[in-house]
Symmetry: C3
């Protein structure tokens, strides 16, 4: 029987063991992740940017979907934790020899790997692996299909907390292609778990998920209206492929209706934060003056991305090790009695 | 004059200096490699999976044939020995600028590289390099043409010894495409050197080498007959290309005749080991129930692969260094007298 | 306003801060680089080839043009300085998502990167980045368009000084495709700055730059004549593409006129050095007997390449850090007063 996201990601003692999705993690756990990341922010500013938390540990970056940017942030985070890192671009290797996903993973586990950072085009891939294939390897989800991209959501939460101090009372708008965005799905869940006042989705009808109300959000189809009074605006990247599939008329039309300009930004609360997961399409979903302007925290998000990844990697590794030790203690007891 | 495999791989004092093939290594040396690997098995189980034996040494993975799996095991082994690792996928780089193999290697040596791990499509490539191009760089053969894949053979020997305790009295069957397999060639030599009672080859006539008897083996063309009473069954991976060249009728036909099923496995000695170098083709050369069954040690082979690679890398490096020191001592003496 | 090459590469206190081109560096600075590299030569000969000068620092190899050879030397140099290294083959990644060069670099800087090693097809790319995009990240130019390849020039200078002791009084000939060579441009500047007696360019008219005299060189169109009495011959690699664009008749014809043979080498001063940046085209620009002969120092250049790269990386990092500390001290003072 498949485990719930909560029981899968936690040890029975409540430590983080895998990091697959925001679902199943409560406010206390999300806060612990943010606090741990805060302590790593300082590491990035040091001359010697290393902590020995994963020294001698083997982290395998398993990217079934290519993503140099995300892979690089995980690689840097792992190296700053002193891990040994193996990068595998699986799209072009083992599986091309007809080996199944499970066999590839079991082989890597047999090489004494301690952690898999996984990006996969199939929703649920990371969950499946942690649940059914290699539960004793710490699994970090680096994006699975349209399902989740939880480290991206958490680095956004860290950025918001740095600038606002708390989540209570905040109104946050997410703008763009919500339907196809694993980032948005994880952000909505994280914002609601952390207790913001209101999450708004602003998008054309064709780019909204089917039952948005079930997500605990308010929906707007006009940007000006949706932005009114918000404290944080999260712009999503527009995948150009959407144009070709007739979901959207044209880039120019999209920019006119949903692009964030200086003028439209004036509708928000004063000094609202402008965020974007990157890479940005200047002049498509965001005006350059806004992306580079004083309210933009886009580059701060990138810096926070390293700290958040260091946090979930070190916490999941520590939870896995504690659980493995308890298991072998139980096994010894079982043998003795 | 080209050196023999023995004189090439040994220093005059009998230390390992290169690891090119099982040919030329005697039983004592193979046993020393297995004993050293045993000591590294424990390293893989530690929290800090590092030993400093190759610290500050530069290991270059030179893969003229792509192989993510084999390259990864060498990379992990080198990192656990604390080496600096440079991965070069030569198929797509320097040589495409028209540089000769020798020039590429001499350039890498000039960068103060200490060890080359080489995979090459040409039989004898590793031997040629150790003999004629860069004898003072430790050469590890990671597979050359149809000739040899000695680390694969040694990890198989380690696996057999772990489970049986000794080689004396064992009957071992190798099943499948012997003719095109560098793995099989190295296995046969290693098994005979280590003193098993009998090595059997089981294959259709089209996939047998020309004079199999010269290898010190018994040949069977029926799987059921060949498996009778054996203690170890080593299945080989079937290269799908063989079908296309009319050497074999079809995958289905091959599976019927040479696929290892639960039923056929019953012919062996009780609890015979089932081995496979991976990646496995489920339902082509092996039934899933057998690959995942209690007699399968396939994932154990993978774990042992790291330990064997750590063993030959550290032994060859140590022999090279000892030899270089003796040489410079001799040179100083020569200058003085 | 764009900075001059000198003010860009130096801190106000005269330390190296970026390494973009030989232009703007004076004789004292070039000599300091050579002296520092000399101290690293010894590191390559040690058993433990590591110094901790860049420990905990993040070096990003940003190759917009592929070059396995140059990338490998920078990677090895960085690892021997104990840095964490991230290799990004940008041609195939982020920018393909439509992200601008500046945005890619600002993102990498936000990940707390300390140094970018940049190869780019556009002349001036490294200068632009150091001047206008990320001045507080140490920029090392690994080749930009036809403009400069300053680490190659400096490793050549190191090789010349090792063999001749000094630059005064030397006659140096550069032979081949000067027009398209960033290496030649950097060599000419370095040789003149270091005070050689004469720099000669030997090339067919079609492969000479437009106003060679402005470079402080003598021009020869006949190899035999140009080689007369020189102390150093630097051969350039002939890009085979030149043939196709009708700048040259044929490889055979080129070899006859400009290929360095034993016979032609006899025209130089006795024991003149033969140099080549590699990879060499045997039988196109150089005879094998010359490339492998007693006057060739081609492989020594490769060894020196690691030492020079360690030198400029450690010097630029150190200058950057000193400058950043002075800046934050100034900022603190500014706040206080």
């Amino acid at each position: 029987m498949a485990k719930t996201p909560g029981s899968l990601q936690h040890t029975p003692e409540g430590e983080l063991r895998h990091f697959i999705s925001i679902d199943g993690l409560d406010r206390a756990m999300l806060t612990r992740i943010l606090d741990t990341a805060d302590s790593f922010i300082e590491v990035g500013e040091r001359t010697i940017k290393k902590v020995p938390l994963l020294r001698g540990r083997t982290v395998v970056n398993l990217f079934f979907e290519p993503s140099t940017r995300t892979r690089s942030t995980f690689e840097l985070a792992a190296k700053r934790l002193s891990a040994d890192v193996l990068n595998l671009d699986i799209g072009t290797s083992a599986t091309s020899k007809g080996e199944s996903l499970s066999d590839t993973l079991l082989n890597l586990r047999a090489m004494a790997s301690d952690m898999f950072v996984i990006r996969h085009a199939a929703s649920g891939a990371a969950h499946f692996i942690a649940d059914a294939v290699t539960p004793d390897v710490a699994i970090i989800n680096a994006g699975d299909g349209r399902h989740a991209h939880p480290t991206q959501a958490m680095l956004d939460m860290l950025t918001i907390r740095q600038h606002t101090g708390a989540f209570e009372g905040l109104k946050v708008a997410i703008v763009g292609d919500i339907e196809h965005s694993r980032v948005a799905r994880s952000q909505i869940r994280a914002l609601n778990t952390l207790g913001v006042e209101e999450v708004r989705l602003i998008a054309p009808d064709t780019l909204l998920p089917h039952k948005p109300e079930a997500l605990g959000v308010r929906v707007f189809s006009h940007l000006e209206e949706g932005l009114r009074g918000v404290d944080v605006v999260i712009m999503l990247r527009l995948q150009r492929e959407r144009m070709e599939t007739a979901l959207l008329p044209s880039e120019r039309e999209y920019y006119k209706l949903y692009g964030l300009t200086t003028e439209k930004l004036a509708r928000t609360a004063p000094n609202a934060l402008v965020m974007h997961p990157g890479p940005i399409n200047r002049g498509v979903e965001i005006e350059s003056a806004v992306a580079d302007g004083p309210q933009s925290v886009i580059l701060g998000q990138v810096t926070n991305g390293i700290a958040i990844r260091m946090a979930v990697m070190s916490m999941a590794m520590s939870g896995q090790l504690a659980e493995r030790q308890r298991e072998s203690a139980r096994n010894r007891e079982g043998t003795r009695s």
